[in-house]
Each structure stands twice: as C-alpha cells, then as structure tokens.
Symmetry: C2
DNA sequence: GGATGTGAACGACTTCACAGCG
DNA sequence: CGCTGTGAAGTCGTTCACATCC
C-alpha cells in the first residue's frame, strides 16, 4: 500500500454543501433566486398555484429540472395540481437564508456602489446597507443615499457598531485584496467582490465574485463563434 | 416504433459550441478570460514562461485543469518548461475573439452604465463604447464620458452609423425586454443584460446575463449555510 | 387527465495517473 | 528530472421516462 497521502489541494476543495436535510447542488441553489423572483411575479398576478412546466418556461429550463430542484425543499407539490406559490416562496426564502435581514457594508463609493445602493431589488430581499467606506478623503463624511461614508481605518468600529455581516467590494483591483483582508478582520462573514482579482480569504469568510470584464468577454466569444460560420 | 417526435424543447437547446478545430467546453471558455488576465499580470512582472501549476495556483484550480483547458489552443506548452506567456496570450485573445475591436452600445445611462463606461478594463480588451441611449429626455443630448446620449427612437440610425455590434442593457427590468427587442432589431449581435429578467431573443442574438441580486443571494446562502453549523 | 417525484441513462466537467518528451 | 498532453476514472448535473397520486 503506497502512502495514500493525498496531494495537497490548494485552497479548500469545494465544501460538500450539505443543505441540512437534502443534498442540494450548487447549480440548484443558483436557480433558487430565479424561481423566487418568478414566483413573486406570479404572485403579483394573483396566481396561487404554479406547475413545474410554467416555472420551466419562465426560466427557459426543463420541467424535470424544476421538479428536481424543488424536491430539495421537501414535498411541497401536489400531484395533478402543481406547487402552491406562497408556500414555495417561503420555503425558498428559508432555504436561501433570506428570511431575515442581512446588514451589508459597501467599500468603494463609486458609480458601481451608487448603482447598487439605489437598486430596489436588494432591500426587497432583505439586504440592508448599513455602512459605507471609501479611502478618498474627499468622500469621507459625505452622505450617499442617506448613509455617511467612513474612512477605511474606522472599519472595525463601524462594522461592529452597524452589525454588518456581508461586504461588497467595489474598489479598484489594486485595493481589493487589502479591502477584503480588512473586512474579514472586522468580522465580515461574506464578500461580494466586483474587482477583477482572485481574492485569498480565510475559509470561514465566504466569497462570491462578479467579474464584469469576464462576462463581456464571454459575450464577445459567443458572437465571435456565431459570426464565424 | 413509436413516433419519435422529440418533445419540443422550449427555446433552443444549448448549441454544441464547436470552437472551430477542438471541442471547447463552456466551462473552459469561462476560464479563458481569467487565464488571460493573469498571464497579462505575469507578463508585466517580466515572466516569460508559466507552468500549469503557476496558473492553477493563481486561479485556485488544479494544474490538470489548466492543461486540459490550454490543450484546446493547440500544443503551445513545452514539456519540462511550461507555456510561453506571450504566445498563450495571443492564442487566448484569438480564441476568445478579442483580437479585434468590439464597438459597443449602452442603453440606460444610470450609475451602472457610468461605472462600466469608466472601467478601464474594457478598452484594454478591445471593447469600445460607441453609442449611448436613454429614454429620459433630460439625459438625451448630454455627454457622458465624452459620448452623446441618444433617444431610443434613434437606435436604428445611431447603431448603424456607429457600427455597434454588442449592446449592454442597464435599464430597469420593466424596460429590459423592449430594449432588447429594439437593439436586436437595430442589428446588434450580442447583449449583456443587467436587468433581473429572463430575456427572449432571436437565436442569432447572443445573450449573457448578470443578475446582481442573484449573486448577493448566493452569498447570503453560503453564509447562512456556514453559520448554520 | 394532469402534475409530481424519482431511478436510471446520459452528458458534461474535473481529477487522476502516467506516458512522453525536452 | 520537470512539465506537458491525454486516456481513463470519477463526480456532478441534466434529461428521460414512468410509476404514483390527486
């Protein structure tokens, strides 16, 4: 028997993502938000029951996919009828963890941050902006969308006082890693990063990155490919 | 033999994505942009040759993954040595289709659009903003980042004159579908959509969507899960 | 009939393991 | 020896097909 010392994986291998009772795949979770949004729309139209087919049409995925996903939430569907919209919404909210408020801090008060602060979808889903930071002395002290801008040095105190648990990084790439470190040190538990940088974080700080340049390049690639034939 | 009339798939099933010579997976393409960015960084540091291990460490993926991906570009690697950075960069650019300019239009000149217009990563990768649109009469005629804002009614003429091939949708969700339709009708070949809506498009218009609320909800879910145990 | 829930088949992506070459 | 290139194995995600139940 050779020494089965597994080759050290860099970083942490994707944690298994055990969602309590049922195993939920990352892919399903990525769709939960979309189900939720569409169910809310259906709800506003007065629809009380939706079928996997309707949801699938809305998201442009198959009905089987929808059923597999929703099965993770328990047996909410009624055969021959469909799923009760209100119950589904509640179950999705609970599973996603947005059946509560998420106090959120934003670092880097540029146009992107302003766009996010003004976006009405966030408060609707429980996200509350509670603290803003910018390293530009000219911005510190100003109010943006009703919130004062603080200096990065005040992060520990302001974060603690505001109770922020999530952080949004909207600073230039050069400053992204140090911002992430500062937020992590201040006790933030999850980061949404918009800087085009691969951040290194302690394993207990969660990370979601959105790289806008990558998205646009994906698009260019698709068009390039389609145009090529 | 039952009538093998396949159940009508809604929308188009994911086209096979035949990248010319070698089959490239969507997942690989999604990483190409990242390889490119890191190679450019290595290049600026004066590094001329990189190994799959180095790139893997930078992106936090395995070296085998890197080699598999790069194999799609042809045999650029040199055994025992690594990959020549400059050649790789060129090959990636060509494969992604960003070895050229992409004239791009932006609709909805709010904070998000301003953030994008100002982002220096785009021009660096060949994206050129050539036309802006907003339905707000107060904005029409203004200049933003040096470009005049046009009325949506002028789309066909302005798009044609500017030669825009890509479009960025940064309008509120209510207006997203009609904006997409207008851009498609004006001859745009690819759309980057920021509205939290599932757009319907002709199959010959490519689409990439970025839903910021979904991303933040993903993050909340991860933290929720991590905190839950 | 109409819709869910689910094993089984399928396909896509990732990792392993190692041959091959500089 | 180091590092690439690649079949084979493994894992994950999607689709099919159908039993099941209202």
């Amino acid at each position: 028997m050779a020494t089965r010392e597994r080759k050290r994986r860099r970083g942490s291998r994707q944690a298994p993502l055990t969602g309590g009772d049922t195993r939920l795949s990352r892919a399903s979770v990525a769709r939960f938000s979309l189900y939720l949004r569409h169910l809310e729309m259906f709800g506003r139209e007065g629809i009380e029951t939706v079928s996997s087919g309707q949801l699938g049409d809305a998201l442009r995925i198959t009905d089987a996919q929808v059923r597999k996903d929703l099965a993770c939430l328990g047996s909410l569907g009624q055969r021959g009828i469909g799923y009760p919209a209100a119950e589904l919404i509640g179950a999705l909210r609970r599973k996603l963890g947005i059946d509560r408020h998420w106090p959120t801090a934003v670092v880097g008060i540029g146009n992107l941050a302003r766009a996010l602060l003004r976006y009405r979808g966030f408060p609707q889903h429980g996200f509350r902006f509670v603290a803003l930071f910018d390293s530009d002395a000219a911005k510190v002290g100003q109010r943006v969308e009703g919130l004062p801008v603080h200096a990065p040095a005040d992060m520990p105190a302001v974060i603690a006082a505001s109770g922020a648990e999530l952080g949004i990084i909207a600073v230039p790439s050069e400053a992204a890693q140090e911002t992430a470190d500062a937020l992590a040190a201040a006790g933030i538990r999850g980061l949404l990063n918009f800087a085009p940088v691969v951040l290194r974080l302690r394993r207990d700080v969660n990370l979601v990155s959105v790289d806008l340049a990558v998205q646009l390049e994906q698009l260019a690639f698709l068009v390039h490919l389609a145009g090529g034939e």
